[in-house]
């Protein structure tokens, strides 16, 4: 395999709380190629955001990265001095943070916000930064007469576009998009998704696209990684994961989404709740909710297994080379 853009190996992050240690991310490994879009899917609290924050080392106490390594463009990010992580954030790896509504400072206009991201990383004159900001905002579809608008004067979709422009400001090679379309109505969602795939094609951008909406993710991703309880339960090419899911959790996620095609059926929910992560369950984190749970599931943590070409799942159902 050639050198990947991003290589995450055995990442584990915990939160030490008064009620015990929450294992938010456990032994997660994955990679992203240049220009590839990886979708990360899972319910709230399954560790998606923690993975993204861990890559940028933005985990604050009581959270802590306990093990693993992150290689980005051949460099081990965890070996960097803490103070110099700033040079990576927003420059080489950019983040589109969760909830664009709140990600913009209410007292900064769109153009100023974008210009400030440029100024944070480049030694350019303020005027130049503003000029590039204007160009960027235009490229994400903000009309030129709106670039001086303040966040409260912009719609949700517009704000999301501004935040995307901020992420792109320094030509990053990887963008971590954390729930970029959550909370937008479907039409705007579609627009933002189109914008992101546009940008991806124009700039050859690699992306990590985090969402709980597996269908939104499948529209834009090359590969999908499904997480549950801080672990990767299934990973494979987007089409395969959506059309031939192997892990019962992925199947449940897909069944919980209403579809437009095919016969009309009931929307299924997955019984039970996401594990809190404090009480360390023996075995598979999903077994208390799993419809096809077996005896082994409560005893042993299933290892990730190949279940098809470039397709892996961590489930005892596929133990023994099925």
């Amino acid at each position: 395999m050639t050198a990947r853009l991003l290589e995450v190996d055995g990442l584990s992050t915990v939160y030490q709380t008064e009620r015990g240690t929450i294992r938010a991310v456990q032994d997660v490994s994955f990679g992203i190629e240049k220009g590839e879009v990886l979708g990360i899917v899972g319910e709230s609290g399954c560790g998606k955001t923690t993975v993204a924050m861990s890559l940028l080392r933005l985990i604050k106490p009581p959270g802590k990265i306990v093990s693993g390594s992150v290689r980005f463009e051949g460099e081990n990010l965890f070996a960097r001095k803490r103070a110099t992580m700033r040079e990576v954030r927003g420059a080489r790896i950019a983040m589109v943070p969760q909830a664009a509504m709140h990600a913009l400072d209410p007292v900064r206009s769109a153009a100023t916000s974008v210009a400030e991201v440029i100024l944070a990383h480049r030694d350019v004159h303020r005027r130049q930064a503003r000029a590039s900001a204007a160009r960027l905002l235009e490229s994400v579809g903000i009309p030129q007469d709106r670039i001086g608008a303040y966040p409260h004067e912009l719609s949700g979709g517009m704000r999301q576009r501004v935040v995307i422009a901020m992420a792109l400001a320094n030509d990053p090679s990887l963008v971590l998009a954390d729930e970029p379309v959550t909370g937008l109505d479907v039409i705007v969602q579609a627009q933002v998704l189109n914008l992101l795939s546009d940008l991806r094609q124009r700039r050859g951008l690699a992306m990590m696209f985090i969402s709980h909406d597996i269908r939104a993710v499948s529209k834009i991703s090359d590969r999908i990684m499904v997480m549950y309880g801080g672990r990767v339960v299934e990973e494979g090419p987007a089409a395969t994961v959506v059309h031939a899911p192997k892990h019962p959790y992925t199947q449940g996620l897909l069944a919980a989404m209403p579809t437009m095609e095919g016969p009309r059926g009931d929307v299924q929910s997955i019984p039970g709740e996401v594990t809190s992560g404090t009480d360390q369950l023996a075995g598979c984190p999903f077994h208390p909710r799993c419809p096809s749970a077996m005896d082994v599931c409560g005893r042993e943590q299933p290892a990730a297994r190949r279940v098809g070409p470039d397709h892996r799942a961590a489930c005892h159902l596929y133990e023994g080379g099925r």
């Binding site: 709140h102 400072d105 991201v117 189109n194």
Partner: protein, 320 residues
């Protein structure tokens, strides 16, 4: 085109026009502001307003009010009204300066403490705790005696006593401000800590800084009056407190002289303090809209008929 019409209408609505007060607090605040502005004008134009030089002997000692001396004269024949007018300068100036100094220090400590947390926070806050726990009047008196009597030390001493409270209050706001989405986002985008603090955190807490400043100025004026009343003020620049000190020391309370020597000055202090309190109340209400619930604004005050958001479908959607 739709956007253009919207801008023109809102621009028309923004024509200079005195907006109506939206709550009882806002009305009080405006009353306070008017009173304060009056006092500031008196302080600024003292030489024009005062009938005499307050330091010159312009009449016989211990005169009751007359046409020549509206508030009578003091023990050495100085005009009390002129003293009151010039005293406004000293009292307000010391109040504002001490409050400014206290707020600058308090903001610095509060913001650094709240933003960086950890050991810095613990050390600074224990220091704040100690300052808050010390009984302030005795501390004030001891410091004033040690440092000597002049305006500079009075300002310094007062700010030493009052900086801790704003520090603590601002710290708690910074704790919440630093977790705000846009601050987190700025951090994720690689903003320098100094940039985050100055450009994002500070503006987010600035309404509170202003409210705390008003409060501090209020307390500073009272403290200055207390100090001067105890004879620890600057004798060369007579403030309201100094006037009261002399009134008390020269026996104004033993005769009817307290009516024109003590009451007007005392009233001036009270009125200014109340004005500050009103302004502070209105500012706090603005910073925390939950306090505004007493009377809900009517639709008319929001600018006429309810405008239903009629967002046109963007053309790019129709294209697809």
């Amino acid at each position: 085109m739709v956007a253009a019409t919207a801008t023109t209408t809102s621009r028309r609505r923004r024509l200079p026009q005195w907006p109506r007060a939206r709550s009882a607090g806002e009305r009080l605040g405006r009353a306070g502001a008017v009173i304060l502005v009056l006092f500031v004008l008196v302080a600024v134009f003292a030489p024009l307003l005062a009938p005499y030089d307050p330091k010159a002997q312009t009449g016989l000692p211990y005169q009751a009010p007359s046409a020549d001396h509206l508030l009578g004269t003091n023990d050495i024949g100085q005009d009390i009204l002129s003293e009151l007018i010039y005293g406004t300068r000293v009292s307000l100036a010391i109040g504002f300066l001490a409050a400014l100094l206290a707020i600058v220090v308090g903001t610095l400590v509060g913001v650094v403490s709240g933003y960086f947390g950890g050991l810095v926070d613990t050390l600074l806050m224990r220091f704040v705790d100690i300052t808050l726990a010390l009984p302030f009047l005795p501390l004030l008196i001891v410091l004033a005696v040690f440092l000597g009597r002049n305006i500079k030390t009075t300002v310094l001493v007062i700010s030493v006593v009052i900086w801790a409270r704003p520090a603590r209050i601002l710290r708690s706001q910074v704790l919440s401000a630093r977790e705000r989405g846009f601050v987190q986002a700025a951090r994720a985008m690689g903003g320098r800590p100094r940039h985050l603090l100055r450009r994002h955190v500070l503006p987010a807490v600035s309404p509170l800084i202003i409210a705390q400043f008003v409060r501090a100025a209020n307390i500073a004026i009272l403290l200055e009056a207390s100090l001067s009343f105890l004879g620890l003020g600057d004798v060369t620049a007579k403030s309201w407190g100094t006037t009261l000190y002399y009134a008390s020391a020269r026996g104004a309370f033993l005769t009817r002289a307290w009516l024109w020597w003590v009451v007007p000055t005392g009233l001036a202090i009270s009125v200014v303090v109340v004005a500050f309190a009103f302004i502070g109340y209105a500012l706090e209400e603005r910073a925390d809209p939950r306090l505004r619930a007493r009377r809900l604004p009517t639709l008319a005050q929001f600018g006429g008929a309810p405008t239903v958001a009629t967002t046109p479908v963007p053309e790019e959607v129709l294209d697809r």
